[in-house]
């Protein structure tokens, strides 16, 4: 492979190119990096590397292992923010390649850490290197897809970001299968699984690297013309990334994303113990795992459904639905728990998690509406720092409030009620920020050429 193959100039599509080849290229990357959501399948096996069937003296504990995922999420947000402008400059192919190297390499470095039983190497491998792969890979195809689908930006980015949700659905059973396959009397198979997954993911992401193309600068979909009078809150101008984060709109969107993600991620992380404790004796651990899988499926479906819907009803209205319906559902959950209705409880969380995924998938198109297409990928990268904050805030809120309630003598089944009402409060803040959204002031518009 020559260096020029990765250059943006060599990825410009010929006139007869079918734009529907680009979403699977983006999916090839997102389906891999979405593995991050299923990293918890490795948590217990990583605590039994010495003891194999049970933890032995010298084995790591769950708290230490839990940091691997947290570091990866922090580096996801920071690398997306730091490398966003580089991704815009070099184009999707080189950035997807860098992401494949980091993400696949992260697994291989971690395998070395497992072999030497050095946790800091895994923090560095999956956490830092893999986290950078996550961040760069997440934003790589976003601006390219928006440029290919100016008529359906929500649907296009929804398709790619749906892959991030779908990646967990593949990775969870794949990890279990591989660990069972490689398990021997002297190894629980995690090391071999890490090496295999690193290689598989690198190769699969290379499909995206080869397939991705950018449109020619003057390209438009056949028969499509930009509307003469853009809708309210949809700009035809552009705002550069360094100017965008100085606008109030950027910070309003930052809070909107942060509140939406905080509410969802806290529940997602605690879903299994939560349903078992609320319906004590009625939900087995296996059924609770089924519940986690089901809400993960709705997290994926919501990404495509809500982002596509936003093309018709508008981004602001879509988030209004997320926040208002979210408040209604979260405030109903304690009652559903008291009533003992498992199907209604499950249905409520399926809708909640669909809106959590929908929030992620609709935000790139919202950014495009507010700031134009010029550096939307880089702006998206900076906005993803909201995810890093929410990734810490959500689980901390749910875990600590639950523990505080239990310590104060509240029954486990009722310990989540206050948390649900706090989630309603967070969603209300998000609603108000979304309600306050107005078009970006002209003084922030970029006046130079957007072709370079």
């Amino acid at each position: 492979m020559t260096a020029s193959f990765l250059d943006r100039e060599n990825t410009v599509a010929p006139p007869e190119f079918n734009r529907f080849l680009v979403p699977p290229a983006a999916l090839a990357v997102h389906l891999c990096i979405g593995q991050a959501y299923a990293f918890s399948t490795f948590n217990l096996p990583l605590t039994k590397l010495i003891g194999i069937s049970a933890s032995a003296p010298g084995d790591w504990d769950l708290k230490q292992v839990g940091w691997i995922f947290s570091i990866a999420i922090v580096f996801l947000g920071s690398s997306a923010a730091v490398f966003g402008r580089w991704v815009e400059r070099v184009g999707p192919r080189r950035s997807m390649f860098a992401s494949a190297l980091c993400f696949g390499g992260g697994f291989l470095v971690s395998a070395v850490g497992i072999h030497l039983h050095q946790l800091w190497i895994i923090y560095l491998g999956y956490g830092v290197l893999g986290g950078c792969g996550l961040g760069i890979g997440y934003i790589s195809p976003v601006s390219t897809l928006i440029k290919w689908f100016p008529d359906r930006p929500g649907m296009a980015t929804g398709m790619a970001i749906m892959g991030f949700g779908g990646g967990a659905l593949i990775a969870a059973p794949l990890s279990v299968l591989l660990m069972a396959h490689f398990k021997t009397a002297t190894s629980n198979g995690v090391l071999e699984t890490f090496v295999t997954m690193g290689v598989i993911y690198f190769m699969f992401m290379m499909i995206g690297v080869y397939a991705v193309r950018v449109p020619a600068p003057d390209w438009k979909p056949a028969g499509w013309t930009a509307p003469a009078r853009p809708k309210q809150l949809v700009t035809s101008a552009n705002v550069a990334v360094d100017m965008a984060w100085r606008t109030p709109q950027f910070w309003l969107l930052w809070v909107v994303l942060c509140m939406n993600v905080t509410a969802g991620i806290g529940v997602l992380g605690q879903a299994s113990p939560m349903i078992q404790e609320i319906f004590t004796g009625r939900v087995t651990p296996a059924a609770a795992a089924g519940f986690v899988g089901l809400i993960s499926l709705f997290n994926m479906i919501g990404r495509f459904f809500w982002a596509s819907t936003s093309d018709y009803i508008g981004r602001r209205n879509t988030y209004m639905i997320f926040f208002l319906l979210g408040i209604l559902l979260y405030s109903t959950v304690p009652t559903l728990g008291h009533l003992g209705s498992i199907p209604l409880f499950v249905a409520a969380f399926c809708i909640i998690l669909s809106m959590y995924g929908g929030g992620f998938a609709t935000i790139p198109a919202y950014l495009r509406d507010m700031f134009g297409t010029y550096q939307v990928g880089a702006i998206h990268g900076r906005l993803l720092t909201a995810w890093s904050v929410a990734g810490v805030l959500g689980p901390v809120l749910v875990n600590y409030i639950r523990q505080f309630q239990i310590d104060s003598g509240v029954a486990k089944a009722q310990a989540y009620s206050i948390t649900m009402y706090i989630m309603c409060g967070l969603l209300l803040i998000g609603f108000l920020c979304n309600f306050a959204m107005r078009a970006v002031n002209e003084k922030y518009f970029y006046r130079g050429s957007t072709q370079s």
Binding site: L169, P173, I207, G290, F291, L297, V346
Partner: protein, 32 residues
Amino acid sequence: MKGRLAVLWLLVGIPLLWGVMKTLQNAMKLFQ
């Protein structure tokens, strides 16, 4: 171009459908 389109969508679609199928199989335990 159409053949390439089909191959690419199959490459990403098959693992995704496998993951969805496995997830639904597990989710069934919730209602058993």
